[in-house]
């Protein structure tokens, strides 16, 4: 039984490694001290500081507006892509849908920057951020919807057709009700991806528009202040809530990423 004990210890150490750093961030957001060095007593003043920080509030507003619009559009496009990947034989579509999820983020960031500046001669800002966010979150929605469809009984679609339903009716009365949880979960995931994105936004934000992660980045570069801990704690609470909600609504969220590799890879005999 010694092997079992060793395994248990290693696993607990793994969990500790995952949680302790973030716990420290949260803990120090309530610390009554300018420095993240030692515990000086409980305070909520850093949260008050946050609410008076005009730059931070503007960044939060930008993040919420961009996340709302981009996740709505990417849910629409991603759901279409997920259904298309499931129902028809497309060679290229799955590759295009998965590429932004699979490639190093910096590549998507700089290629979009080149495209917006060189091709469209667009001043970077709200629109370029919005489009870039749709590009990477569309794939996540498509994967979740697609893996939900894979898990469905194929006969229901067949039955709908045999009973004379046209494609629209099949979608309206069969497909949509079945995939609705995955669509809602996909929307929540797209929303968190947009709120959280740093790398791609960093290249496509220009000078005018700052999102929350860009604001956090510029603060971290200058100095370590408990205000960063406070905003981090709030942001973590939001994303955590959304992810838990999404996985509750649709279990595909947890397994979708892993199914994606299998379902688009060549079929194994």
């Amino acid at each position: 039984m010694r092997a079992g004990l060793a395994l248990w210890c290693a696993a607990m150490a793994g969990y500790a490694l995952l949680y302790i750093p973030l716990a420290i961030v949260v803990l120090f957001s309530f610390n009554d001290s300018e420095l993240n060095a030692q515990w000086m007593g409980f305070t909520t003043r850093w949260y008050a500081t946050l609410l008076r920080d005009a730059d931070m509030l503007a960044a939060a507003r930008n993040s919420l507006v961009i996340a709302s619009i981009s996740s709505t559009l990417s849910t629409l496009l991603g759901t279409m892509a997920g259904i298309a990947m499931h129902k028809y034989r497309f060679r290229v579509l799955p590759v295009l849908v998965l590429a932004p999820v699979a490639m190093p983020e910096i590549l998507l960031g700089v290629s979009l920057l080149l495209f917006f500046r060189q091709m469209l001669d667009l001043t970077l800002g709200f629109w370029s951020i919005l489009v870039s966010h749709i590009t990477f979150s569309l794939g996540a929605v498509a994967i979740i919807v697609h893996s939900r469809l894979i898990g469905m009984d194929k006969n229901v679609f067949e039955a709908a057709r045999d009973l004379g339903a046209n494609p629209w009716k099949t979608f309206r009365h069969v497909t949509l009700p079945l995939i609705l949880p995955a669509v809602v979960a996909g929307f929540l995931i797209a929303f968190t991806l947009s709120i959280d994105d740093f790398v791609i936004t960093f290249f496509n934000a220009g000078v005018g528009v700052k999102t929350l992660p860009l604001q956090i980045y510029s603060m971290i570069k200058v100095a370590v202040t408990p205000e960063v801990n406070a905003v981090s704690t709030l942001l973590m609470t939001v994303t955590l809530t959304m992810i838990v909600a999404a996985s509750r609504i649709s279990p595909e969220v947890l397994h979708g990423r892993l199914h994606a590799h299998k379902s688009t890879g060549r079929k194994r005999a």
């Binding site: 395994l7 298309a84 590549l107 920057l113 679609f157």
Partner: protein
């Protein structure tokens, strides 16, 4: 694998109404991705063979407002890459950092994934969610946590800090594919090994480990690839010398504004990424045939 969708069975000729439905469904996402993913990628390739503009960016195609244009193509950016050994060194260093991160993630993730896979069925989902939760926090916050932790120990701005940050950010990418593989192992095989007199250690190396190779390869690809392009971690946790290919690309696009060279570097990174992805896919498949 799942059986094909009924429509796929004889897809030689779809009825007309189905053909319309097919394109109504697929055209919007297709069009969006062609414009905002394929086109930018093509521009990136072309840009790497162009001259930089006088004030950064790319040279305009035609003479505009007295500024000389240049529509010609050149290998200058690639010649520049090979002109100084420092660029190749940075690329190799990035590959080594990715490799080290992957191996450390593997060592940390394996016991955790194995332990979760051997829990009773009801507990497993909760344990997996416990792995995903910290990972749902913002990437910058997870780096920031290490700024706080390493600061008092004088380890900040060192190569160690870079690797620690890389491992922490990407650890869940390794845990999840490993777990999905290990969960499928038949416990009867381990019982058989025990009956045949294998020690726990032998049981692991002869039974569990070989069967988990596909999980190891897909997890490794999921860690190795994103680490390749990261610039924020070396920037926030590393010292002045800890520059990786991601930092070099960012510098070309935002600071020195030599876009053709930045595009060439991005293309080199893309080739490395495709090579790694292809290799890992092949290994995963081969491992699956065991």
């Amino acid at each position: 694998m799942t059986e094909p969708h009924p429509l796929r069975e004889n897809q030689r000729r779809l009825p007309r109404v189905e053909r319309i439905a097919k394109w109504v469904t697929a055209a919007p996402p297709y069009a969006f991705l062609i414009v905002f993913l394929v086109l930018p990628s093509i521009i990136m390739v072309v840009a790497s063979f162009r001259f930089p503009g006088e004030f950064g960016g790319l040279a305009p195609l035609r003479k505009v407002a007295g500024v000389a244009g240049d529509a010609g193509l050149t290998l200058e950016s690639y010649r520049f890459f090979f002109s100084d050994v420092i660029f190749a060194e940075i690329l190799v260093k990035s590959l080594l950092v990715s490799l080290a991160t992957t191996l450390i993630c593997l060592a940390l993730a394996y016991p955790l994934a194995l332990w979760i896979a051997r829990r009773p069925l009801r507990q497993r989902d909760v344990m997996v969610i416990l792995v995903i939760l910290p990972f749902s926090s913002n990437f910058l916050i997870r780096i920031y946590a290490w700024i706080i932790i390493l600061g008092p120990f004088d380890l900040l701005y060192t190569p160690f800090a870079v690797i620690a940050g890389m491992v922490y950010v990407h650890l869940p990418f390794m845990i999840l594919p490993l777990y999905t593989n290990l969960e499928k192992h038949d416990p009867l095989l381990l019982d058989a090994a025990r009956d045949l007199g294998a020690h726990p250690w032998q049981r692991f190396w002869k039974v569990t480990f070989p069967m988990s190779l596909p999980g190891i390869f897909s997890g490794s690809a999921l860690v190795f690839i994103p680490v390749l392009g990261i610039f924020a971690i070396p920037e926030l946790l590393g010292g002045t010398g800890d520059i990786l290919i991601g930092n070099l690309i960012k510098e070309q696009f935002l600071e020195s504004r030599d876009w053709p060279f930045g595009a060439a570097l991005s293309l080199i990174l893309t080739l490395v990424f495709l090579a790694v992805a292809t290799l890992s896919a092949r290994f995963v498949r081969r491992g699956g045939e065991r």
